[in-house]
């Protein structure tokens, strides 16, 4: 290839606060239009914004988790433009002196060395409302404005143009998505627009120092579409240049149906946003203590936790990866380990029985009817020899259904493992007597039938016989 693509991403992360960024209205999704509004988010005359501290805390956490420095004195600015979903005629955002600056993320693409992607800045801003077209309740056809979403807190995360391929872009996005959901500051729902992305794409001849003219692709709402949109756009620009054309600076819209991007507005049509510091909000001063407090509150990030699972808990890489699939799953696992002690055993159960039961019942881990301490209790019964590993699975199913403790279930169903030699010997004797032919076969050297005897004994004891005791006694008896 003769061309080098250059990609930068701007990601909007909707923050999971209970209330909006500049007023006390709820941020709940899906309420009756305009039911979650007040003079501030309606942009009524005389109304003034008051910053939600939670938003600042979330922004600091996002910044610390992406290796940014936290700006000691950051400023809110007004971005001025007219649109019906923008009640004040300006959006309160940050321009100069955003809250987080100069960060980076490590990304991994298969077959490549890990790569550092720069983060230029992260800033806080308010979302706009939503236009509703079509039939409106009570007023026939037309366009309406729903301002429930107006003033919802967003973080905009702007990367450096360090990405070179669509795979790198997707990897970066997934990494960022993982971090903000892991931090619990965003629900990560891309369909509802809680995590959305604009991509700046340009190409330049390989070896060139000068970046090509970029196109900005708006609102690409899934990892798949990001990949598609970027790949289409790279090819479009290359084709254009090859055909002797020039790329113009413009905003383009991705159409998921056709997989293409199309022009939305050119640079000449772009707004002059006339940014200036918002005089209604005082500069946001964040001292070192505040930053340190946030750092203390930071949950361990997935990368670090995964490594710790390998180094300290002795898990294989595969287990550590699976268990770090989400913060709640990893939390569940660690709580189980804390209550039981054997990390590998707990890992097997969490990745095996627990995951299967969750999938079968369509439940997520935070609503598991079996708590980590109950799981540990069950595993301890196996450790003590009270029940067999096989019985444990039966007990687990019962725990899942009834919510009872493993002890109670074992008691209730008489599932205590039989380790009493004389009782097992009795069963063995009976079975050997009833299957004299197989006994002869074994003694004639056909050791395979051993398994048959084990199965028969276990069946006769309804699975309660201690398998190791059964094995030992059987060997002795069969060998005569």
């Amino acid at each position: 290839m003769k061309y080098q693509p250059v990609i930068g991403l701007e990601v909007h992360v909707q923050l999971k606060t209970d209330t909006k960024i500049f007023c006390g209205c709820s941020t709940q999704f899906g309420a009756e239009p305009n039911s979650q509004t007040c003079p501030v988010c309606l942009g009524l005359p005389g109304a003034l914004p008051v910053l939600n501290k939670k938003v600042v805390e979330f922004a600091i956490k996002a910044g610390l988790s992406t290796n940014c420095s936290i700006t000691p004195r950051s400023i809110f600015a007004r971005k001025n433009y007219f649109y019906p979903d923008l009640p004040k005629g300006y959006q309160i955002s940050q321009f100069e002196d955003p809250i987080c600056q100069h960060g980076w993320l490590d990304i991994k693409v298969e077959g490549q060395e890990p790569k550092k992607i720069g983060i230029t800045r992260i800033h806080m801003e308010e979302d706009a409302g939503k236009l509703v077209h079509g039939e409106l309740s009570g007023s026939g056809d037309g366009s309406g404005v729903d301002l429930n979403r107006a003033c919802t807190p967003l973080l905009e995360v702007v990367s450096e143009p360090d990405l070179r391929t669509s795979d790198e872009a997707v990897s970066y996005l997934k990494q960022l998505h993982g971090i903000v959901t892991w931090l619990g500051i965003c629900d990560g729902n891309m369909e509802e627009g809680s995590f959305r992305c604009d991509a700046n794409v340009s190409v330049m001849p390989i070896g060139s120092e000068k970046l090509g003219t970029r196109a900005e692709i708006k609102n690409v709402n899934s990892f798949k579409f990001v990949k598609q949109a970027i790949e289409y756009e790279i090819q479009r620009q290359i084709d254009l240049i090859e055909d002797g054309g020039t790329v113009i600076q413009e905003t383009r819209l991705f159409d998921p149906n056709s997989g293409k991007t199309r022009s939305m507005r050119s640079k000449e049509e772009a707004h002059d946003y006339r940014y200036f510091p918002d005089p209604d909000l005082v500069p946001l001063v964040i001292n070192q203590e505040w930053v340190e407090r946030s750092r203390q509150e930071l949950p361990e990030l997935p990368d670090k936790r995964q490594q710790r699972f390998i180094d300290e808990l002795g898990l294989p890489l595969y287990d550590a990866e699976v268990l770090n699939g989400s913060r709640v799953l990893a939390d569940y696992f660690e709580a189980g380990v804390a209550a039981h002690g054997n990390a590998k055993l707990v890992a097997n159960w969490v990745m095996g029985e627990i995951t299967r039961a969750l999938n079968d019942s369509g439940t997520s881990i935070e609503f598991s009817p079996v708590t980590p301490s109950q799981l540990a209790e069950l595993l301890k019964l196996v450790d003590k020899g009270t029940i067999s590993g096989k019985i444990a699975k039966t007990v687990f199913d019962e725990m899942w259904k009834s919510g009872k403790t493993p002890g109670a279930i074992v008691e209730e169903h008489g599932l205590v493992q039989v380790s009493d030699c004389s009782a097992i010997e009795g069963i063995i004797d009976e079975i050997m007597a009833a299957n004299a032919g197989q006994v002869e076969e074994f003694r004639g050297g056909k050791e395979k039938v051993f398994g048959f005897f084990v199965g028969q004994v276990m069946k006769a004891s309804k699975g309660k016989a201690n398998p190791s005791v059964v094995n030992e006694l059987l060997i002795n008896k069969l060998k005569g």
């Binding site: 001025n80 004040k88 940014y275 209604d280 909000l281």
Partner: protein
């Protein structure tokens, strides 16, 4: 006006005391303190006082036009309510006092126009914090006062609801933008009023109408529910008949408001308590940039006499300099208009206010705003938009902010040496209606002595100090240190005790 019928219906309710003949009490000229003692001693009821003032409004409004909206029903109902409070022994200083407020303050359920056509039918769903504080102390609202549209103007000629006239000479402007607030006090149409001051909008009309007007330090009084003109400069303040009343209103409205991030969370002193401590040894600065050659001779004479009065009272005078004064007007017209261009973007016809018939969105925006805004507002929106535009931002807005810092530093430096500053409020007494309306620059220059105070963010007061040869009031300005309203109120009170200017009444 249905006023007579309304008053009669109120008087017919048998729960009321019989209305006495109050014609000898001169209610319309009372101060808050005078009316309060009459209410407390039951010589008067709030209803009687309210009725007397509503009748006065009815009588003089055709000549003065201080009001955009009079609210007699609400006023009579609140007065009745206040009388019940007083009867049950709850009578604080503002209980039952009939007040009026500039139409820039949002009043729940009462039309609020801000002097603009674009808000002609706007009924707010909530009230401004400063008005709520007065209302909660039992004040009676008479109505909403005329002003320059969106507080942009120095003469009240920019109101969409007609010009307010100066009660001392109805061919003259009352000043602006709180012209209605000043004229109402001077014409006996309210015991006291609230105004707002962005570049002199309280002090200049107070000076022209012979009343006391205080612009508190930025951050001292909440701006919540006050329609924004220039957010970093706007401040709410009282307009009254004397300094004691001014302190009383400030006592009620000052203080931190969690709904206004720019209001300052620091203790509020008792402004009324320290009024009488005198000015002996007070160091008063005379900034040379404010005593220019072009000063009107009557204003000059008034200042000279005021200085003499203070000397007699034991104050010391120090000649000082505020070297960046010359840049203040230009700086102001960049910062204020920049902020205004953004603050006024919300009047787009989408959610409230005037919406023009139009075929598409862009046309709806342009027509609604073209029809809704007046000439001066459009001029300032364009100026401000230009100052913030890409390519001009650094040269205009950023430069203006830097100069603003220099002006602030001038003040900080001077206040190391003096306690207050004494200056004229305006270069001339009230001018004629129509005299400057077609010369914006001349109009803008009428605020040269008041604008620097807003840029510096500090407090200042205008109080009556004399009259022109033509019988027009002339005020003097006392500028205080940030958050030191106490000292200018004390200095103003001392001056008032030593002079009689504030006792003169406009004969209208």
């Amino acid at each position: 006006m249905r006023l007579a019928a309304l008053i009669i219906s109120f008087l017919c309710q048998k729960s009321l005391n019989k209305v006495r003949d109050t014609s000898n009490m001169n209610i319309i000229e009372m101060t808050i303190h005078e009316l309060h003692s009459a209410l407390k001693s039951k010589k008067l009821s709030s209803l009687e006082a309210t009725i007397a003032i509503l009748e006065r409004i009815k009588a003089v409004e055709p000549k003065v036009s201080s009001f955009i909206t009079v609210t007699p029903e609400q006023a009579l109902a609140s007065a009745k309510n206040a009388d019940e409070q007083i009867a049950s022994g709850h009578c604080n200083l503002l209980t039952g006092i009939p007040l009026a407020i500039k139409d820039i303050f949002l009043t729940e359920g009462i039309r609020t126009t801000c002097g603009s056509r674009i808000l002609e039918n706007f009924i707010p769903p909530y009230s401004a914090t400063s008005w709520e504080k007065l209302r909660d102390r039992g004040a009676v609202l008479l109505g909403k006062l005329n002003q320059d549209e969106f507080a942009m103007g120095s003469s009240n000629e920019c109101s969409a609801y007609g010009v307010t006239r100066n009660p001392w000479d109805t061919t003259c402007i009352p000043g602006g933008s709180s012209g209605g607030s000043a004229a109402a006090v001077a014409a006996g149409e309210a015991i006291a009023t609230l105004g707002t001051d962005t570049g002199g909008s309280i002090r200049q009309p107070a000076s022209h109408c012979g009343c006391v007007g205080l612009k508190p330090t930025y951050g001292r009084v909440s701006r919540y529910g006050v329609i924004a003109y220039a957010s970093s400069l706007d401040q709410v303040g009282p307009m009254t008949r004397d300094v004691a009343d001014c302190a009383a209103i400030l006592d009620a409205i000052a203080g931190y408001d969690p709904k206004d991030s720019t209001s300052v969370n620091m203790p509020v002193p008792d402004y009324s308590a320290s009024l009488k401590e005198g000015v002996k040894g007070l160091k008063i600065g005379l900034p040379k940039e404010y005593f220019i050659d072009g000063l009107d001779p009557d204003v000059q004479k008034t200042m000279t006499e005021a200085i003499e009065t203070y000397r007699r009272l034991g104050a010391e005078f120090i000649d000082i300099s505020l070297p960046h004064t010359d840049y203040a007007v230009a700086t102001y017209y960049l910062i204020a208009t920049a902020e205004a261009s953004s603050n006024l973007a919300r009047y787009d016809g989408v959610r409230f206010g005037h919406r023009a018939e139009a075929g598409n969105l862009l046309e709806m925006y342009t027509k609604s705003r073209s029809e809704g805004f007046g000439t001066e507002v459009k001029r300032r929106i364009m100026l401000g938009t230009y100052a913030l535009s890409s390519g001009y931002y650094d040269a205009y807005y950023v430069k203006a902010q830097k100069v603003r810092t220099l002006i602030m530093n001038d003040f900080i430096k001077v206040f190391n040496d003096v306690d207050v500053m004494l200056t004229p409020v305006a270069p001339t007494p009230a001018f004629k209606i129509g005299e400057k309306i077609n010369d914006p620059l001349q109009m803008y220059l009428s605020d040269i002595f008041t604008i620097p105070v807003n840029l510096a963010g500090t407090c200042a007061m205008s109080l009556p100090a004399g009259f022109s040869a033509n019988g027009l009031p002339i005020g003097l300005q006392l500028i205080g240190k940030p958050f030191d309203e106490e000292t200018i109120l004390r200095a103003g009170y001392a001056f008032e005790q030593a002079t009689e200017w504030h006792t003169r009444k406009a004969s209208i």
